[in-house]
Symmetry: C2
Subunit: 331 residues, 2 copies
């Protein structure tokens, strides 16, 4: 993903690279954050500390939907509206599929070509992460860097099949779910848990012969959303139709986002949510480093595969093996 | 859930209580496993070690479906078929809702009354668990105790809204998903991830005016299941209709389970799956105890709430607070 060998910059250089708003400087800092080297991680932590006071000023939006719903095209067109409103936009994409299969749903094809040419936009795929579940951790730090670099909107895109959505929900202000009309609901693959997270549903591809279906689906989803318990913040999730292709309905979705932002800030729930998320992230970070410390300790690196073999052969049972390894680790 | 004050038995008494097949002895051992006291945990670990050689001989079945699909009635009727085939059945129910809301979807109402009167059956709700995610851990140990007590079938029931299903999938041999026909698919709330896990789907309440809908749904789900990649074990997920009320289709589902059991054992995939699950559980156990050790350490117990307050007030950022706490912990 990142360059295997690169000249590492000094903390000061990374910092000024980010704060200058220059896309190359930001990219380099993100590469540092994404690194799995311990020395890089230390420097990355210092960098985040240094720029932290410049973060938090963006509107963070999670965008999800299953493959085929048209997320890339939506973000390409919708992002243009954000930019046209005078705002800078960063798009971070998380693709968990590459973790499981080695392949990638998003693939290497050039995505969001038009958007990526704009100087007001910054597009970055997130790495697939390691077994220690660092994806969310690194995505969140990348988001902070983008904020320090002056981006007003951050979109975090996920594939919508359940692996990353909860993590993303816990780092954004607004969660947008893209759906299709008439695709056969049972095949859309969106779990109820994700619908419950949504602050808005946008029914995409509402164009051509699809318009009637989209209107019908809009009503259905509105009804469905009423079945969920009300949000503490008083916001009632909205359903919109749009066509990324014909550029229809997108401005109305942007207005909805801005309305949410304003209302939630006035009511204090915006800040309250951010505070709760911060606590949550403290604990997530703790869990992440506890695991990392364990699996990277020399004692465990030496013994783990033997123990796995013993468990596989039935010579040790899982909990026994775990306890013995833990005893070695804590010794 | 458990008696607050009880006479703790000796390891030998717990062991013989479990191995005797006596339901009271088994219950007491499960209460020990469910305890959150350190001293109980130690004894429980020893007990699992002692009985481990008697475990692994049951057919482990995960059963899930959203509230309203009729899980209790299904298990009540289906369980009777298991018992009638001369097998002993243990039913463990996991209710994650009680964790979030304080209330419980399953509630305190008496469930599976008929089944619970049979001496061939043992029914036990799993505790809601703590913040450290111990639910799955304790459910798995409870399952082992039931096996040591001679139960041939273990059903692990979950609510099907996504919190526990992955954990359960990782501890069972067969995963059964209950669905309804004609309930409006978008409201069934089953995520695609859960459908992908299913070795069989049973469309419940296929009775009265529902029969046609159930047949139609059966075809739809069969088509949907074909969209998923084939399982490594060569098993093609089946769709069945049944009526728990009229006791229809249940024997056919039991035959399906037995066919799966036989085929998978012959092909070696049964054993392969169990081995992979054992490795997985070793790691899950490690993660669980790493967190437990951290959050129960005196240093962290003393400092945690202050740090949470600092993060909430914005005096520290999440990762900074996490790192400082980790430094105190590892010192």
């Amino acid at each position: 993903m990142s360059l295997k060998r690169r000249n590492r910059l000094s903390l000061e250089e990374y910092k000024s690279g980010v704060l200058s708003g220059d896309r190359v400087g930001l990219s380099r800092a993100i590469t540092l954050v994404e690194s799995t080297l311990d020395s890089d991680n230390e420097l990355a932590a210092k960098l985040i500390d240094e720029v932290y006071q410049y973060t938090g000023n963006s509107f963070r939006v999670g965008i999800t939907g299953v493959p085929g719903v048209g997320k890339s095209t939506f973000i390409e067109s919708f992002g243009q509206h954000v930019i046209d409103s005078g705002k800078k936009l960063a798009v971070l994409t998380i693709d968990p599929s590459s973790q499981k299969t080695g392949g990638s749903i998003l693939g290497d094809k050039t995505r969001m070509e038009k958007l990526s040419r704009s100087h007001q936009a910054f597009i970055r795929p997130s790495p697939s992460g390691d077994a220690l579940g660092g994806v969310a951790h690194k995505t969140r730090e990348t988001m902070l860097l983008c904020e320090a670099a002056g981006y007003d909107f951050i979109f975090i895109e996920t594939v919508g099949v359940g692996q990353s959505e909860t993590a993303v929900k816990n780092m954004v202000d607004f969660f947008l779910l893209l759906m299709l009309a008439g695709a056969g609901d049972e095949l859309q693959g969106i779990k109820k848990g994700i619908m419950e997270m949504a602050d808005a549903i946008a029914i995409n591809k509402a164009d051509g012969e699809n318009i009637n279906n989209a209107q019908k689906a809009k009503k259905e989803y509105q009804n469905a959303l009423h079945l969920f318990p009300a949000n503490e913040n008083g916001w009632i999730p909205k359903v919109k139709t749009c066509s990324s292709l014909n550029d229809e309905g997108l401005q109305s979705i942007l207005e909805l986002l801005n309305k949410f932002n304003l209302e939630q800030k006035e009511s204090g729930f915006f800040d309250k949510n951010r505070k709760e998320q911060a606590i949550h992230w403290m604990h997530q970070t703790i869990h992440h480093f506890l695991k990392q410390n364990f699996y990277k300790s020399p004692e465990i690196l030496k013994k783990l595969s033997n123990f796995e073999e013993e468990v596989r052969n039935g010579n040790k049972h899982s909990v026994q093996a775990a306890r013995t390894l833990l005893n070695h680790y804590f010794k």
